[in-house]
Symmetry: C2
Subunit: 468 residues, 2 copies
Amino acid sequence: MVQATALPRNEGGIETAIGILKQQFGERLQTGQSIREQHGHTTTYIVNQMPDAVVFPENTGEVAEIVKICAAHKVPVIPFGTGTSLEGHVNAPAGGISVDMSKMDKILEVHAQDLDVVVQPGVTREQLNTYLRDQGLFFPIDPGANASLGGMAATRASGTNAVRYGTMKDNVIALEAVMADGQVIRTAQRAKKSSAGYDLTRLLVGSEGTLGLITEITLRLQGIPEAISSARCSFPSLDAACQAVMMTIQYGVPVARIELLDELSIKAANAYSKLDLPETPLLLLEFHGSEAGVAEQAEMFGSIAEEFGGTDFAATSTAEERTKLWQARHDMYWASLQLRPGAKGISTDVCVPISRLAECVGGAQDKAAELDIMAPIVGHVGDGNFHALLLIDMDSAEERGKAEKFMAWLTDTAIAMEGTCTGEHGIGQGKKPYLEKELGAATSYMAAIKSALDPDNIMNPGKIVTLE
Amino acid sequence: MVQATALPRNEGGIETAIGILKQQFGERLQTGQSIREQHGHTTTYIVNQMPDAVVFPENTGEVAEIVKICAAHKVPVIPFGTGTSLEGHVNAPAGGISVDMSKMDKILEVHAQDLDVVVQPGVTREQLNTYLRDQGLFFPIDPGANASLGGMAATRASGTNAVRYGTMKDNVIALEAVMADGQVIRTAQRAKKSSAGYDLTRLLVGSEGTLGLITEITLRLQGIPEAISSARCSFPSLDAACQAVMMTIQYGVPVARIELLDELSIKAANAYSKLDLPETPLLLLEFHGSEAGVAEQAEMFGSIAEEFGGTDFAATSTAEERTKLWQARHDMYWASLQLRPGAKGISTDVCVPISRLAECVGGAQDKAAELDIMAPIVGHVGDGNFHALLLIDMDSAEERGKAEKFMAWLTDTAIAMEGTCTGEHGIGQGKKPYLEKELGAATSYMAAIKSALDPDNIMNPGKIVTLE
């Protein structure tokens, strides 16, 4: 386990703030050990740093009230969605108040004609899509977990179909947020585009709760496509698979998803999901469009795949077959863990220009072999983003050391290829050492913005930037 | 003409800075009256406020040098691309140094496999597309003018095909910029997506030179589509045309362009471009895709149009016919001016949710009639963005007053419809009064960011935000 540095605690302030909050929120302010632990980091190798209390606001006014109280007493405020962050975003290294958004789960307005929706931050992705289905609409961003939309906005999440629909930065039209002084702002109007001043929407998207607490989100929606079809294709080598991806993107085939599973991942999926796929690199695709359109896309991909030695090409447009294929992809995390029962999974998240993808993935496989780490790889390869899941015995200092070595190597390699240390998981606590390596002097301007908007450093302290 | 407030001048600092710059840049530092006037605002009703000198850097190091000299002497720095801003962005209300980027016009790297390109800020849109054509690639953003890509990034420009390809915010992957202290930063790596810290790329896109000077831009490219076709269709009413637009977008027809011309614009186009179009609202479309794809798109739009009483539907896929149709659209500004020879054109730029578009455009027509202003309207209606071109005798105080009344009414109306005062032209000097109306408290955080990153207010002062 990795222990993020604890920050100085303002004991008196915390005690006072909890007292005031308790009076105002009654049972909606909790301080029990177990609920506090649940609101610290629980998903990965990063050690839990629990908050001192958890509060459950029901509306924006209450969030503003909470922030004002915490601001007055210089107490940290940490937003909490569903807790699926992989990088310690919800940890409380200086203690403070976790603001659990689960009661702010209303879908406020659906504007079908404008293809947008206004939601509270606690609404989850699946909840929204269930709600929208009858209207023929959907929200495309799918990071895998059934995360809250507030959390997804805060971490600039993306996932399997970003290759077609973009990431949260492309799909948030406007935000309402409570800033560090307790003031409520709207970052933009509901119009589809705007040149009105600094893009506060995109400054808050990906700011991980360090600049403001998101209390309302206006999201772009898509019409559910007339037809959806899937395809899979095995390749003789990683390089061949990556070449096929590049060519597909270059030809402008508007694939909705294009996922890579390496040999080891296939082995895991075959065992876990009772499949019988050839144990060579696999591409898994989804096409959205008209009936004719998806057929054309599948055909174009099929001929590209053939050019690069693709075999076992199988296209399908029945929901049942499609579901089976994608279920295996969605179960990859659990399937991979079964490769080494008892091990913990540590996910990397680099993203490189796709011309460097084969080299980066291949290098990662070689490095894992060299260090004797089992690390199946899956990737959102249309974007150049992939995850190696390091299967580590966390009780072994030697293995933890190897994992750290691997992560440092991979990040350095990706950065040298003009890539990033994080395609979609965010910086949080886990990737702070890499941010400065990646962006150098730019990080000092991030710190300047943080200081200007949150001079007392109460908004999710210890994440993204380190203030002097 | 509208005179933006002059700001206090730092005479001593300006004189000193010019002296130092003259030594370093020799003939590349110009102080002649005529070149200074050309580097103030020249395109619209806003009065020219010329800089004290114009400098022509050739690389990033020189830009950093210029900013360091100006920072040391607290002298304003105003970036200049091609001068096509409509909102006074290049004016120098406190004097200072115009940094003309025209010598920084190199296309540095084309990464065809990654569909991106790295350019200097003085490269123009047409220059880039001419260069890319042989490689089967293009950069889609088309604001009409042959603007510089640095200027387009700085104003978050968009234009006719944003409905499909997005705006500059969606198409800039990373920036290199010189900040107010002269330090050079890169805002992001070249990877297609990233969750690494605050989105400085999108903070600088649309910041109009007030936070940093853009010295290098990494842009997303597109493959030139296999087929391009156009269509036009006349409608019995504005409302019918707007309903057809909404339905087209809702059905997910991936139109590349969908433009509205109102009756008065058609009258202007018929006269200027020797056309014979019915004088009723017209939609002009462009489709990109495969041969089969564009045919399908045209057919889908055709049947939607029919449903709303569309007539004279004409689709074409020969380059010649297409060019003629779109030439008329591109010439609208000149065609409109001919409706009232001698008048100046003042362009509005509101953008509203498309469900409110018909109401907003219709309201604008009524208001123009009420005030007896001639104001043909064209619009990027897939985004809800339209421009009324007020044809005004600028020597008449009465007419200027009417124009101001119209603009205030239109902006208030758009904001009340959850729209924005500027879809793509930016705030500059011209729209500053509306920004606070639109975003209220959020503007104080814009000012805080500006103060933090540019404490001496030397970066294009007097634009977007007003500092205390």
